[in-house]
């Protein structure tokens, strides 16, 4: 990753749209490198399209677009007060969740952080149950008791939704341990941000995973900012994929704006896990276009940086590849857009109409085996 200090678009004196610029922040890539990468990535993507059947390509596109529109709708609902608490949006990172999850089976497991709506949709949870959960209603996947950060669905093997940074990493290691113990060839995907890599839980988990050989795929979504702290300000050594060598664990660095690249890297890791019970660390470089959460004004990044990354929007990139190769025509794009609009509207309607949880729900599910006091 280049650390060039200046570019035509961002100088130390430039302010972000909200005012203050982090004096320590460094423009992450210079303009020409980003443009070249974008072209290069697109050409690579286009050259590989023929390896996929049309249904798969359309499905990948549809899922990413659904997540995008769902998240945009969530932002709107949050601003209207229909969603409370924290709301961490996946906008810009869609290719990571969709690409990775497209490489696994329905019976494989997924765990992630609080920035989970995208992975939840990609794993097959209904937008209705997710939106209702965001609205805190009884029809939500967690019956309104989890919220944005704690979505779960046993029917599609989506295991949350964890709000302590890195908390999901030992859990995922245990899930993978269990599938091996039980003798199946299931694998587990564990998503987390680059800031989680600094937590002890990450290191403890990777050590155990390689030592005990568990089929867990650790996917680090490096969106380059942990809330307001850039990765340069948080890490002494930034090459996250290389940290795997401390555990003799296989790793790859992946361009997270290319859904096909993410899918392929994940497939390689899945193969390794299913056959040999070997874990992998994927460092997937991506970017979030909105703030850390709906409460984040985003003073630590420049408008220019965000705009440049938006040129590498994974959905726009994929659409351009599909369009330029003549794989998908305008009508189909419009159909998908219309379908997605409908899906999101249905989700909101379901959420609006779902009732609030009964007062009794306050006390249910504290214990699986509640013990009644003896008189």
């Amino acid at each position: 990753m280049s650390k060039q200090q200046t570019s035509e678009f961002a100088t130390k004196s430039e302010k972000s749209s909200t005012g203050v610029m982090d004096p320590d922040s460094v423009d992450l890539q210079d303009l020409s490198t980003m443009a070249r990468d974008h072209q290069e990535v697109k050409e690579q993507q286009k050259s590989r399209l023929s390896e996929f059947d049309l249904e798969t390509l359309l499905d990948l596109y549809h899922q990413m677009l659904l997540i995008r529109r769902f998240e945009e709708k969530s932002a709107e609902a949050y601003s209207m007060g229909k969603i409370g608490g924290f709301c961490h949006l996946y906008i810009g990172q869609e290719a990571v969740g969709v690409g990775a999850i497209s490489a696994i089976r329905k019976d494989d497991y997924v765990l992630t952080s609080y920035r989970e709506h995208g992975q939840a949709i990609a794993k097959g949870m209904s937008p209705e149950s997710i939106m209702a959960e965001l609205f805190g209603k009884a029809g939500g996947c967690s019956r309104g008791k989890g919220g944005s950060m704690h979505m779960f669905d046993t029917s599609v093997n989506f295991l949350g939704g964890h709000a302590i940074v890195g908390g999901q990493i030992p859990l995922a290691t245990g899930v993978a341990f269990a599938t091996k113990y039980l003798g199946t060839d299931q694998v587990t995907l564990c998503f987390f941000g680059e800031a989680a890599v600094n937590q002890g839980a990450f290191h403890e988990s990777l050590n155990l995973a390689q030592l005990w050989k568990v089929p867990c795929i650790y996917i680090c979504e490096n969106n380059q900012y942990g809330m307001g702290t850039s990765v340069q300000r948080a890490m002494s050594f930034h090459e996250i994929s290389q940290k795997a060598c401390a555990y003799e664990l296989a790793s790859e660095f992946v361009d997270g704006m290319d859904v096909l690249a993410v899918r392929e890297a994940t497939q390689r890791a899945v193969e390794r896990a299913r056959k040999d019970y070997l874990p992998t660390l994927l460092e997937v470089r991506t970017y979030r276009f909105m703030g850390h959460s709906m409460s984040d004004p985003g003073n630590y990044r420049t408008r220019a940086e965000i705009e440049k990354y938006q040129e590498r929007d994974p959905i726009k990139l994929f659409a351009a590849s599909l369009r330029e190769e003549g794989v998908v025509d305008e009508n189909t794009f419009q159909e998908i857009e219309a379908r997605v609009k409908d899906e999101v509207e249905r989700a909101v309607r379901f959420a609006e109409e779902s009732p609030a949880p009964d007062a009794e729900e306050l006390y249910t599910d504290v214990y699986a085996n509640p013990i009644e006091p003896k008189s």
């Binding site: 497991y109 765990l111 939500g140 996947c141 967690s142 019956r143 309104g144 008791k145 989890g146 704690h150 779960f152 669905d153 046993t154 295991l159 949350g160 939704g161 964890h162 709000a163 302590i164 908390g167 990493i169 030992p170 859990l171 995922a172 290691t173 245990g174 899930v175 993978a176 341990f177 269990a178 599938t179 113990y181 039980l182 002890g200 839980a201 403890e204 988990s205 050590n207 155990l208 030592l211 005990w212 249910t364 599910d365 504290v366 214990y367 699986a368 085996n369 013990i371 006091p373 003896k374 008189s375």
Partner: protein
């Protein structure tokens, strides 16, 4: 009935539950090849193999979380902390994952895990190795906390804890591992969680004691008997959920309550029992509830200082006399 040590009783419980259910497995530091730091897991590796009895690295947060994850998808882990002092490293996974998973998932993912190991004082192992953490864990809805005081209780309660579908914090006491007691021979002998036991019946004062303090309270009761004070000694056995009704029933009979515990007094289990008895049986109390707790200091190393930090028979006797307005 066999007479065996608490260590042997725990070992039997582990063996029987490992035999009974393939999903049960055990992990912790030195539990396998070393035969257990305190020999509680002796022989288990030989009988059940490496797949089911695992030596972990020193990685409490990692292996506790691994256990919780495994429990989410159908396994029934028994996670040993060499001592509960080390569980502090794992608290994020115990509290933020294990205790909350069922609730925040709307009832979808239960966590049938047991975290077990010795807690409280040992012999001159100093401040970081002598902590009694039961009130810490009992604070959290979603956890169950169990503390046996006899070999029979240890075996019966551990079997029930392993069969329970919730996360159980099972706190043993190193000083008691060698204590002997009668244990039923029945292979399926279990003791239900949430049920206290009257260890000694009496009429003049109730002493509630747990873990290490139970034998101490019983000795105090014997001594008091000689001067005509008949004490009822109750061991809650499960701290959360607390069998408060058993304690209240006793207080309604005796009208006086002493709580004996080796833990610190502040925000301790004794404080909780005291408050609950006041709430439910205030009119039956003829004196304020008296707590005999461990000294409110980190545990010192020097032998004489450590002895001063842990409640004695004499202190419990004095407390009973105080609430009885004798002297």
């Amino acid at each position: 009935m066999a007479v065996i040590t608490m260590r042997e009783a725990l070992n039997q419980a582990l063996r029987e539950e490992l035999q009974r259910d393939d999903k049960v497995f055990l992990m912790g530091e030195e539990v396998a090849a070393y035969q257990g730091a305190y020999k509680v897991t002796k022989g288990l590796l030989e009988e059940f193999g490496e797949k089911r009895v695992l030596d972990t690295p020193i990685t409490e947060l990692g292996f506790a979380g691994l256990g919780v994850g495994a429990a989410m998808v159908g396994l029934r882990p028994i996670v040993e902390f060499m001592t509960f002092n080390f569980s502090i490293l794992a608290t994020d996974q115990i509290i933020n994952s294990a205790a909350k998973m069922l609730y925040m998932s709307g009832g979808q993912y239960k966590i049938p895990i047991v975290f077990r190991g010795p807690g409280g004082s040992a012999f001159q192992v100093s401040s970081q190795h002598s902590q009694a953490l039961e009130s810490w864990f009992a604070y959290f809805p979603g956890l169950k906390v169990v503390m046996p005081s006899s070999p029979a209780d240890a075996k019966g309660l551990l079997k029930s804890s392993i069969r329970d579908d919730d996360p159980v914090i099972f706190i043993e006491q190193e000083r008691m591992y060698g204590n002997k007691g009668e244990v039923p021979d029945d292979e399926d002998f279990t003791i239900p969680l949430g049920v206290a036991e009257v260890k000694r019946e009496g009429t003049d004062a109730t002493i509630v004691a747990r873990s290490l303090m139970v034998p101490v309270a019983l000795k105090a009761a014997e001594q008091l008997e000689k001067s005509g004070v008949s004490c009822e000694v109750i061991d809650p056995r499960t701290i959360r959920p607390l069998d408060i009704n058993a304690i209240v029933k006793s207080v309604k009979k005796t009208n006086r309550l002493v709580v004996a515990e080796e833990s610190h007094p502040f925000c301790g289990v004794g404080a909780e029992i005291s408050t609950q008895v006041m709430e439910r049986a205030f009119d039956f109390l003829d004196a304020p509830v008296k707590r005999v707790s461990g000294a409110d200091v980190p545990m010192p190393y020097a032998k004489n200082l450590e002895e001063l930090a842990i409640p004695t028979v004499d202190q419990i006797v004095a407390a009973v006399r105080e609430v009885s307005y004798i002297d």
